[in-house]
């Protein structure tokens, strides 16, 4: 590829900060957004901690008519989209509508909206179901609403691959740019912190039942006992490097490689697919493992899954062969929003030359990982690998290269 696809805009909505500056400030200081659930009465459930977004008032950012027809995750996504486009310096109204597209991931759709309408249906009757239910809850809603809000008529897409989907959406957005679309808005936001969403998440049997926010989500630690869910994610703006450089945009980095695989069926005895996904991403980027500067781990917080991920990383990079981190220990796992937020974190890490830390974790020796804990680590970062896995066996990997080469080209 002679004209790489680059990220030029970030819109972050996370439990540790609304907007890039607050998020990155909290992340580099190791501030956690995990705490007791306040959104509903969680006392009766076996898991009671989450990464909630506090202080988000949708009406401050969006027109009133949108509020009754949108779930919280859509409101967050629309605001993140506004921020990402502003960050990229793109005013959609100035561009031909068919030159801009939207591809997002979703894991759960507008689940809280759906809960409210199911309650209306079963407690009052079918006539009490909202006219907006037909689209407010479904998985395509964020792509649809983002395209409408920003007048984007180009290729659209929606992928659902649980937590891996955030990377699959970014890869599909990149595919559309390679096929000729000038600007793609991509990423994902999920938010299902409502009783019905919580009960459905509990069924994964992967939620931590700890009540101590500092001990609940401890990937790669002997004490690992599940994860803490959160809400939020990130929306990214992507375009061709030549276009970004020509208009003098800040280039965060390049989406240089991608790989996606699926694990063999349980009990069939085959090799898990994560290492294969990593190798596919590195091969596409034409980067040997020793040139990868940091890995943002999926970090499931379940011993078997942590072992599988550590095995994949050590298989490709060798034991203690590459710095590994999981800033999602501060936000909780955001489902499809997690990987786009990790991409944003990795791009910001490369910009500053600082690997954010994995909080609260004491790495277990048996994983043989160089996990960045306790403090952020200063390092010159030219590339970063982001990993994401979805429930059932989805594995995705994205290799980012720093925006620095593009900035050098621009200076010349």
């Amino acid at each position: 590829m002679t004209d790489p696809v680059v990220v030029t805009g970030l819109g972050i909505v996370s439990p540790t900060g609304l907007g890039t500056a607050p998020y990155w400030s909290a992340t580099r200081r190791g501030v956690s957004g995990i705490g007791p659930i306040t959104r509903f009465a969680a006392d009766g459930y076996p898991a009671r901690l989450a990464g909630e977004i506090n202080g988000f008032v949708a009406g401050e950012h969006l027109p009133g008519r949108l509020l009754p027809q949108t779930d919280r995750m859509t409101q967050l996504a629309l605001v993140a989209g506004d921020w990402a486009l502003a960050d990229a310096g793109i005013t959609p109204a100035d561009l031909p509508a068919f030159d801009m597209g939207v591809c997002t991931a979703s894991a759960q759709g507008g689940f809280e909206f759906g809960q409210n309408e199911l309650r209306n249906l079963w407690s009052q009757g079918s006539r009490y179901v909202s006219a907006y239910q037909s689209f407010a809850w479904f998985y395509a809603v964020n792509s649809g609403q983002l395209s409408i809000r920003n007048g984007m008529k180009g290729p659209s897409g929606v992928v659902v691959s649980d937590q891996a989907g955030g990377l699959d959406a970014v890869a599909n957005a990149r595919r559309q740019i390679r096929k000729g679309t000038a600007v793609m808005v991509t990423g994902a936001v999920d938010a299902s912190l409502c009783p019905w969403g919580w009960v459905a998440q509990l069924a994964s049997r992967r939620l931590s039942t700890s009540d101590d926010p500092d001990r609940a989500y401890l990937p790669f630690d002997e004490r690992a006992n599940g994860h803490v869910p959160g809400e939020g994610g990130a929306i990214l703006v992507m375009e061709r490097a030549s276009r970004a450089v020509a208009r003098g945009a800040h280039v965060y980095g390049q989406v240089a490689g991608y790989g996606a695989t699926f694990d063999p069926a349980p009990g069939s005895g085959g090799q898990p697919g994560l290492a294969r996904a990593i190798r596919l991403a590195l091969a596409e980027a034409d980067l040997p493992p020793e040139n990868v500067d940091v890995v943002f781990a999926d970090a499931a917080g379940i011993p078997e899954l942590d072992q599988a991920e550590a095995d994949a990383i050590t298989e490709v990079f060798g034991p203690y062969g590459v710095p590994v981190t999981a800033p999602k220990t501060m936000t909780g796992r955001l489902y499809s929003g997690a990987a786009p937020l990790d991409l944003a974190a990795a791009l910001l890490a490369m910009d500053e030359g600082l690997i954010p830390q994995t909080v609260n974790v004491t790495p277990a020796e048996r994983y043989r990982l160089d996990l960045v804990t306790d403090h952020p680590r200063a390092a010159q970062l030219c590339s970063a690998l982001v990993l994401a896995r979805g429930y059932g066996g989805f594995n995705s990997a994205v290799l980012l290269r720093s925006g620095y080469p593009q900035r050098v080209a621009a200076a010349r």
Partner: protein, 422 residues
């Protein structure tokens, strides 16, 4: 490197009126309809009381009791169809194939039927706000996140390449196949098991379409309720079903001597960026998708022998796409047979796009164009050749199929007969 092209080598359809590709094609070519008064639940409280249901016994189709318990109905459809499509393709998977075989399953509303039923229980009939987790089924997470459909299909066929669910509302079926085609073309996979599934006939779906009067309120003669392009049409009729395909890189399919139904020669999707449910009457964005798909297929409007319309049977849709055909194909739009199989099998949301691709592939295979049933009173605003009532023998080498959905998505795909394109 030479261009990688993608062909369909296996098909399985589960559609209302008969579970299986053969029954499906008989229904279409006979012009019979499978819409009926809802039997899955008491439809009395609803404005719309007709749907196209499948009489489906999962165990008869080879699913084990635990698979049945674990999977939502839509996932059951997909797994049965995926196995059928692989059998139809004659493809034998070995270790190499597994890593190079991916899955893309479209679904608009995922496990909505199971979610509706489970919510009713854990909330005790909508009474509890803090719903009771002790009454939840153990597989509720699989219903929460419908990527479980892709996982089930991958397990069923042994695929270990890229797997995902594509969920772009009512264009999911075209978009999942289009996604799969792009993966094979770019070299990310050699084989894709792709298609779409939806089983939305449940109270919450009926209620939400009632609320916006999108579905037909016609109750008398339910078999005539779905009337695309007819002047008396008054909404779509909800359906369910699935179609799954085996898609292969053309040269490797040829090398193994596979039967090729059709090549997928062009695909595009665009958004109207206008309204989540409304359509502008001019159809400009669908027209743009059609032009782009034709361009990718390197075909001209006069190469198209048949258009499989979205033809949902709502007032606004049928006008919208008629305008889109005229805009994109010019005068030739008046000379191409156009039909909507939703008149017979209903509108199964995300699944129907894949079911319609199957109809297109079979039209190419048999040189027969399926009809639009229930079209007795042409709407003056819909003035194309909609093949009313009776299937037509017609040389069919190149086919256009389109979809339009909530969220503003407009998709188009072009299929050609094997060897049709140089």
């Amino acid at each position: 490197m030479t261009e990688r092209r993608v062909v369909i080598t296996g098909i399985e359809v589960l559609a209302p009126g008969g579970a299986g590709t053969k029954d499906f094609w008989s229904l279409l070519t006979d012009g019979r309809t499978a819409t009926r008064t809802i039997t899955f639940f008491d439809p009395a409280p609803f404005r719309s009381q007709v749907a196209a249901e499948i009489d489906f016994d999962p165990e008869q189709h080879g699913l084990t009791p635990q698979e049945v318990r674990r999977m939502d109905r839509a996932a059951q459809f997909a797994v049965v169809a995926a196995r059928g499509a692989v059998a139809d393709s004659g493809l034998v998977f070995d270790n190499v194939h597994e890593h190079r075989t991916g899955v893309a399953i479209g679904s608009a509303v995922g496990a909505t039927m199971s979610l509706d039923q489970e919510y009713r229980v854990v909330s005790d009939g909508g009474r509890l706000h803090e719903v009771d987790h002790t009454y939840a089924v153990p597989h509720l997470y699989d219903y929460l996140v419908p990527s479980s459909f892709a996982a089930e299909v991958a397990w069923a066929v042994g695929a270990q390449g890229p797997a995902t669910v594509i969920s772009t509302g009512c264009t999911s079926g075209i978009d999942s196949v289009g996604y799969a085609v792009e993966l094979i073309r770019e070299g990310s996979a050699d084989v894709m098991v792709a298609g779409a599934t939806d089983a939305p006939i449940s109270p919450i779906t009926m209620a939400c379409f009632d609320a916006i009067k999108a579905t037909s309120p016609r109750r008398e003669q339910p078999e005539t309720a779905s009337r695309p392009f007819d002047a008396t049409r008054n909404g779509f009729v909800l359906g369910e079903g699935t179609a799954v395909f085996v898609l292969e890189e053309m040269e490797s399919a040829r090398r193994r001597g596979a039967h090729v139904y059709a090549e997928i020669a062009g695909y595009a999707t665009r958004s109207n960026a206008f309204h989540m449910t409304g359509l502008r009457p001019d159809g400009k964005e669908m027209a743009e998708a059609i032009r782009t798909a034709l361009g990718e297929a390197r075909l001209n409007p006069d190469d198209i022998d048949y258009i499989n319309a979205h033809g949902s049977g709502t007032k606004q849709n049928d006008r919208h796409e008629t305008a889109a055909f005229k805009d994109s194909l010019g005068e030739h739009a008046y000379r191409i047979p156009v039909s909507s199989i939703k008149s017979m099998v209903g509108h199964s949301l995300g699944a129907i796009g894949a079911i319609e691709i199957a109809a297109c592939a079979l039209a190419i295979e048999h040189n027969v164009v399926p009809p639009t049933a229930n079209l007795h009173h042409p709407d003056p605003e819909c003035d194309l050749d909609y093949v009313p009532l009776t299937a037509r023998e017609h040389r069919t080498d190149a086919v256009l199929t389109v979809g339009s959905g909530f969220g503003g998505f407009q998709s188009a795909m072009v299929l050609t007969g094997p060897g049709r394109r140089p």
